[in-house]
Point group: C2
Chain length 266, copies 2
């Protein structure tokens, strides 16, 4: 039995489309064409979303954009999820102490990743800015490795079987090397990648566990590869691990055992 309600799925796709910078302000025709649905179907869903204040229609320009109700709804989603609220508070500490842009990454159901929060360091001239809401694939970067490393090894085949996509010349595309890199992440308790997903950008990432020992969130620092020396990398690793340990511990995960395995700090 198929449980999908097509009009609800379309409503979600419309909201996701309008959340992209390029499509933030669209006419009915543009939305319908982009999502390959009829204008009539699309209009009915848009009108319903407008009535619920999930989208806003500008009668002057005849364009639709994200509606005001989404703002409190998003705040509530963050607030009610105590783990996310705590992680967002830790994120600011990490950004300040490492002087690196720090991000919180969540895994979506279809195994893509999404930035759900970011914190930029104060008083830094050159900084990396990421767009909250941006999605990216689970393979290829430090964030994804932190999620995948703690999946069952048998689940790894899902990613490696069809071949791994190269995002940059540094992406690991060899299945064996990829699986080895996941084992290394599990051993150390963190992932460091240099330009595997985005050219010139390095990431240091750590998993945050829930009570059941699953990776619930990943917290990471981003740096321009050429600016990330050994000292700054170690600083990021230790700050992130301290924050992740606090957050995992709060959720009831016996982190102290896990940390001993991966302990690298003196």
């Amino acid at each position: 039995m198929v449980y999908e309600v097509p009009s609800v799925a379309l409503a979600a796709r419309i909201l996701k489309l309008l959340s992209r910078y390029k499509y933030r302000d669209c006419t009915l025709t543009e939305i319908a064409e982009r999502l390959s649905v009829s204008k009539t179907t699309c209009l009915r869903v848009l009108r319903t979303l407008e009535r619920e204040d999930f989208v806003r229609f500008n009668p002057e320009t005849k364009r639709y954009s994200l509606g005001p109700y989404l703002i409190p709804l998003g705040n509530r989603a963050a607030e009610l999820n105590q783990r996310i609220a705590s992680a967002m508070a830790e994120l600011r500490v990490v950004a300040e102490k490492t002087a690196l842009t720090s991000v919180l990454v969540q895994r979506l159901r279809d195994d893509r990743l999404i930035y759900i929060a970011s914190a930029e360091p104060p008083d830094v001239r050159v900084r990396i800015t990421v767009s909250v809401g941006q999605q990216f694939p689970i393979t290829g970067g430090a964030f994804g490795k932190c999620f995948l490393a703690y999946d069952e090894e048998s689940a790894w085949r899902r990613w490696t079987a069809g071949g791994l996509k190269a995002f940059t010349p540094n992406t690991i595309v060899d299945p064996e090397r990829f699986e080895e890199s996941l084992r290394e992440v599990r051993r150390k308790g963190y992932a460091v990648t240099h330009a595997e997903l985005t050219s010139g950008i390095s990431a240091v990432a750590v998993p945050i566990f829930n009570r059941a020992g699953q990776v619930e969130l990943v917290m990471a620092c981003l740096a321009v590869t050429s600016q990330l020396n050994e000292e700054r990398e170690q600083c990021a690793i230790s700050q992130l691990r301290a924050s992740a340990a606090r957050l995992s511990e709060w959720s009831g995960y016996p982190i102290s055992m896990e940390r001993k395995d991966g302990e690298l700090d003196p």
Copy 2:
């Protein structure tokens, strides 16, 4: 022709339900009962929302809560709406300068109001905390008056014809006095109310105009009535008006003309 898509409307109602603190974590049965729909219908919509990461299902507890995708979506809605983003920045300035909790209020389509942002003053022992996402009626308080005052006077009948609801002993329920209070708001350019909507709480509110001269947002300071002396009230009025003038001017509204009408500051 009816444009409402029932399943999309139900999806929106589910999200709004789960955004309420009391219902933040619900079983299927609780949601279906609360919204008076069949469990089958409700389950299909929930599954679709879950697949889109708009709700999250906890298989251990069998409960649904707001999903992770709403967090970036809400951020985007605020970010892409330049006016809201600017107003949120001004809000922090107002809270700091007045030492009062400051809020940003938006009008929803059905003419209820909703808090879309709040800023609390730093270093204040007793403070008022509002819940972003909370809704309240457009009649009865300073926020609503700032919206209604700039509607056509003929539209006022919509509120006064059926009688005005008393929220506190201070609520203005007499239609003529209510309309007079709206004219006063328009004349002065701001609204001050004492315990008209909530007992013991006063509000000072100002409208923020869009280019077409419509009230797009209302910014307000909240205070415990007994603590709001003349001096603090004047401080709130002048800070709010300065912020609102900047914001309205940025959006292209010829605020300088409007301010002359209502100028009360020396």
